[in-house]
């Protein structure tokens, strides 16, 4: 049974339908890449999974149980953490406070302390800046904070929305290395990316969204050789 299953999910913003009934599966332990051009509906898909949006119809199953229509705070408690587009850093909080909000759902103090230590070990730059206002961090540091904060909820499924957006190539490589490491440590990941090359290199499966519908889905090796993907996203004529 997949950890996450979307069946015929339709999502509307007012009168506009942004997702026209999509099906998508994420198996336990995988990194699944969700690719697509601007406005294809990638963020909408993640927002629907995390409960920020309610589907107009269709089902979202997490661990086999329907979660569509639940409020976001219930969905986090079930084990899905969403790092939103634009990172959603609390800029007027310190780095440490941001991490504390990430652990908001948990009451096991010892477990939180251990996870916080693990996150700080994974992102040493955050440790140096614990008392600093998060708004003063660089873009890359903010992305690391956003991911670290999400990990403090101890999610089974991590939703990442364009973690490489606007970052220098060297930082992007670091972020991708961390994504692989988080996955290797046991967290399943649904990754939205415009950086198709790196996303397909990290992923074990990939979906391509085109204006609100899944245009194709396959193993990364196949997607990379498909003419459709090459033309549209890999800049190959």
């Amino acid at each position: 049974m997949p950890l996450l299953e979307l069946h015929n999910v339709k999502v509307r913003y007012g009168a506009i339908e942004a997702l026209h009934g999509i099906d998508l599966n994420v198996e336990q332990g995988q990194i699944v890449a969700l690719l697509g051009a601007n406005g294809a509906g990638k963020s909408t898909t993640l927002r629907t999974v995390s409960g920020l949006l309610r589907p107009a119809s269709g089902t979202v199953l997490f661990d086999g149980k329907p979660i569509q229509g639940l409020p976001p705070h219930k969905i986090v408690e079930l084990g899905i953490a969403h790092v939103p587009e634009g990172r959603g850093i609390f800029a007027n909080f310190t780095v440490d406070e941001n991490l504390a909000v990430g652990a908001y759902t948990r009451s096991d103090k010892a477990g939180v302390a251990a996870d916080r230590e693990r996150v700080l070990e994974m992102f040493p730059r955050l440790r140096e800046r614990l008392r600093q206002n998060a708004g003063t961090l660089s873009g890359g540091e903010q992305q690391m904070l956003a991911i670290g904060r999400a990990l403090l909820a101890r999610p089974r499924l991590l939703l990442l929305d364009e973690p490489s957006l606007g970052l220098a190539p060297q930082i992007v490589r670091q972020i991708f290395a961390l994504i692989r490491r988080i996955n290797a440590d046991g967290t399943t990941i649904l990754l939205v990316e415009q950086n198709v090359h790196m996303a397909l290199d990290a992923a074990s499966y990939g979906y391509v969204l085109e204006v609100g519908s899944i245009a194709m889905h396959d193993f990364p090796a196949t997607l990379k050789t498909s003419d459709q993907v090459r033309k549209a996203y890999l800049g190959v004529a």
């Binding site: 920020l52 705070h73 609390f90 007027n92 909000v101 908001y104 909820a153």
Partner: protein, 300 residues
Amino acid sequence: MDGLSVGSLYALIALGYTMVYGVLQFINFAHGDIVMIGAWLSFWICARLGWAGNDAPPSLARAAATLLFAMVVCGTLGFLIERLAYRPLRSAPRLNILITAIGMSLLLENVGQLPIVFGTENQGMPGLLPKETLLSVAGVNITLIDVLIIGCSIALMAGLNHLVYSTRLGLAMRAASFDTKTASLMGVNINRTISLAFVIGAMLAAAAGFLYAVKYTNLNQPAFPTWILLGLTAFVAAVVGGIGNIRGAMIGGVLIGLLEKFGTAYVSSSFKEVYVFSILILVLLFKPTGILGSARVEKV
């Protein structure tokens, strides 16, 4: 001293405006009316319990019980107003909820005027606290009532400050106030946080209403303009301090109270409102986000 005690009342009321604005970016126009209801409930319960007669002796215990009663009832009222009137409109256009708030304000005033509620007569608040002057320094009288008002306000604000800045719940409230969506992704129950802002805001407003009644003793009828002006002045205090900022509301309230009293004492008492609104204009001109306010980044 008088300025300080009036200022702390403004601060208590301003906190309610600012907390609700923080989570909803919405001015709760009915908030000022909760102050009136808090004051009138204090009178009502005293009258009911036979504490209202002129011969009733001052009693700190009775005063505390009255205060508690007003805070609990108003807290419940604040909860219900949000739940029944505002929450259904959460996703409607902003104007709808503003109009509803104005309607709610009129409703509270009119219901307050009903004969079976508070009626349309002015009433005298019983002297729950002794009218003692503790000290007289250079013509300034320091009364026991002023000291108690300031002490009570400080205690309430210190409690709120602790809640908001040193507890998990406070962290959730501040997160929700900065960015509701992201806070919800962190597991913060947004509806509960909004309810909490209304309940705490209404309880503080009730406390202000009670203290106001004890200080001025003459209770104007529920729809009288003094109540509206009281709410409005506190709103100005919230804006001056930086709307959405809790410490700003405290500072703004005290500042406005002092300014109003100094202006009245040293310039002229007929321009009380002029001072208040001039400082509003000055602050808006030079620091539009208020003394402690920070520019809110508009989310695209």
